[in-house]
Amino acid sequence: MARSATTKRKVINTTAAWIVGLLIFFPILWTILTSFKTEAQAIADPPIFLNFDWTLENYGVVMERSNYMRFLWNSIIIAGGSTILGIIIAVPAAWSMAFVPSKRTKDILLWMLSTKMLPAVGVLYPIYLLFIKLGLLDTRLGLTIVLMLINLPIIVWMLYTYFKEIPGEILEAARMDGASLREEVFYILTPMAIPGIASTLLLNVILAWNEAFWTLNLTAAKAAPLTAFIASYSSPEGLFYAKLSAASTMAIAPILILGWFSQKQLVSGLTFGAVK
């Protein structure tokens, strides 16, 4: 297909893609714009697109009302912690599945995925009771563990698909070269799978960051992440579009920025073995 795409064709493609892209992005763009409006301008009819008085007032209000930095910090710790913990546990498991496969490997993998299908609401009470017993309620540790468990199947699966792409011969070469199992995984497998691990990391940070059921229900003040922050803005009194937009922007900005910076990794690695 390497026939020089005609310029006309490229123009059409570009136009179509940009229109679609902007359309998809528009809700976010609109939220960000609205966050800089006054409440009155936010609901102006007809809507104002750009020529409004830009104000930071809403951010001020939100910052004053809640301790944003603490929510943010909790989100970072919990999302990052659960992902790293998950990867530490998943790497050996994925190694085993990819390089020492047995008849049951695929069953185990699918079983792991099936644990994700437990309806969270259905097991809230049991987990809550368990957390009370273990003193994990409203602790970052507790949430980190739960989110790690929720995402573990996905992490294992993703790593498994990446590891399968790595030729076993290389690990055998390391073994011949005198590397122990630990050295093999540490010096050879992990560095080679860096792109895969990076996108696994990213995807799971995103999933953990956005998880809204457990993070809300298992925390109070100390460990509450941004999902709890946003839960206090869902319907305050009076006109609130601008403030809601500001809070929303603050809640999604960190992960959006992270996602954009690392989209190359995410995009290149997000395959789940779909590419063959």
Binding site: I170, A174, G178
Partner: protein, 334 residues
């Protein structure tokens, strides 16, 4: 420093026995080639020697010491893989240094050996590149370099040239042969290309379905194949094998004659046929002759050139002293 003995070694995957009981001794300093069709167990055998697979029964001894349960890293063998198995995230230098790093060789010594290997393999300019930035031949050399620095008791090669293109293959073949001459270390080399086997080996082990069909020097195998399988497998182009009446004439079930041992004439000869495809290489011509009444196709090699065209009638005469005879079991009649 490098004698390897296999004693009644077998290997099964699940219920399938891939290697039936097998005895083999590889002498120190020998260049041994395992050759055989795809799936015959060459790689498996090599991996058993390397320790990358457990043997199902039997014993392996290296330098007279039982190594059956010794882990791969401790056997003192180095392996060069088909895909080279270089560590893509490490520079050439680091790749070569890796086994020494694992063995805890002091930095100085590492450096010395890397330099020496790089010089020997013409890699000095590439030490800081990543494998991804190297050509196939260069990668091949890095893999060998990584093996050399360990100063192993023996080198194991698993089809190391099969990923290279024809021209490069010839060059690398020579390089490995020269390396062997220089180091005089035991080498075991797996290939399914009989040209490689012939040109490189001190000793060829021909395998079929896990069984050793014949062990011997290349010329032994060329001149005295033990059975029809070896006869057909060794030599290029392949030996022509005939059954039936023509064979009976010579008191055998099957007779074989190599393409280079058939004389051609336009006017007279033992067999008559029609030229199918004639391949003119300049230095040689291969003529594929049909309708001889013997087999589907007889291949003849003629040094230099001959004006044979598609459809021409042609007469063939085997050089009778070069005729191979085989009995009903396919074994050579001597």
């Amino acid at each position: 420093m490098g004698q390897i003995q296999l004693n009644q070694v077998t290997k099964s995957f699940g219920d399938v026995q891939v290697i039936p009981p097998l005895d083999l001794t590889i002498e120190d300093g020998e260049f041994t080639v395992f050759v055989g069709p795809s799936g015959c167990g060459k790689s498996t055998l090599l991996r058993l020697i390397a320790g990358l697979e457990d043997i199902t029964s039997g014993h392996i001894a290296i330098d007279g010491k039982d190594a059956t349960d010794v882990p791969p890293a401790k056997r003192g063998l180095a392996m060069v893989f088909q895909s080279y198995a270089l560590y893509p995230h490490m520079s050439v230098r680091k790749n070569i240094a890796f086994p020494m790093r694992m063995a805890g060789v002091p930095e100085d010594e590492q450096k010395r050996r890397i330099e020496a290997a790089a010089k020997a393999l013409n890699l000095t300019d590439y030490l800081d590149r990543r494998p991804g930035q190297l050509s196939g031949g260069q990668r091949q050399r890095v893999a060998i370099g990584r093996a050399i620095v360990r100063e192993p008791a023996a080198f194991l090669f698993d089809e190391p040239l099969s990923n290279l293109d024809a021209a490069l293959r010839v060059g690398m073949r020579l390089e490995i042969s020269e390396l062997h001459k220089r180091l005089a270390t035991t080498m075991i080399y797996v290939t399914h290309d009989q040209v490689e086997a012939m040109t490189m080996a001190d000793k060829i082990v021909v395998l079929r379905a896990g069984n050793i069909e014949q062990v011997g020097s290349p010329l032994e195998l060329y001149h005295e194949p033990r059975n029809t399988f070896v006869a057909g497998f060794i030599g290029s182009p392949k030996m022509n094998l005939f059954d039936g009446a023509e064979a009976q004439k010579h008191g055998a079930t099957t007779i074989g004659i190599r393409p280079e041992h058939i004389d051609v004439s336009k006017t007279e000869g033992t067999w008559k046929g029609r030229v199918g495809v004639a391949e003119h290489l300049g230095s040689d011509t291969f003529i594929h002759v049909h309708d001889t009444g013997l087999v589907d196709m007889v291949t003849v090699r003629i040094t230099g050139d001959i004006a044979a065209r598609h459809g021409d009638e042609i007469y063939l005469s085997p050089q009778l002293d070069k005729l191979h005879k085989f009995d009903a079991e396919g074994l050579a009649i001597r």
